[in-house]
Symmetry: C2
Subunit: 106 residues, 2 copies
């Protein structure tokens, strides 16, 4: 599978999630994979791109509408993961909700 | 220095650059560092976040306005780097120009 998200023509929406991990594992990878699976089943999900190195992780999910983003934020399994993220997995993170206005690729 | 970009209250703009590298080095890291230096001197530059693993690299630069993004795209040293990126450093990449509408952090 390509690691690039295949999104349609703009406009669409992006959630930029930038994070630094703690040293605590406790099922992190399993949860992360499950969240990708669950998100991709949500209505309006377009794709996801992710990279992590020793200093920072960036995950960007792409969505058809703001409503789709809101629904995903309220997904019950996702809410549990968000809580556990704060108490165990992440030292700190930031979330940015964006409207993608233009795109191109090479 | 924190690896997180310190951006002001939305709205502001983001350029999401997702890429896969070739095996060609030829001054890549030096160029990448120089581009960060040059970008940060541009009017309207707010910050940058970057992560790369074996599969994908993601760099997000944040800007005060669309005009600032246009100016940076036209920066002459940046244009040379863009050309060299296509012929040497990148197998493929995508660029997305976004308006950040909301953000929060933990």
């Amino acid at each position: 599978m390509s690691k690039f998200a295949k999104t349609h023509e703009p406009p669409y929406y992006a959630v930029i999630f930038t994070s630094q991990r703690t040293d605590i594992d406790k099922g992190y990878e399993k949860m992360a994979n499950r969240m990708v699976d669950l998100a991709s089943q949500e209505k309006g999900f377009l794709g996801i791109e992710s990279a992590r190195d020793s200093e920072l992780g960036i995950t960007i999910s792409y969505w058809d509408s703001m409503d789709a983003i809101k629904n995903w934020k309220e997904n019950s399994a996702h809410k549990i993961a968000q809580e556990k993220g704060k108490t165990e997995w992440y030292k700190n993170y930031s979330v940015r909700i964006c409207k993608v206005e233009r795109d191109y690729s090479f």
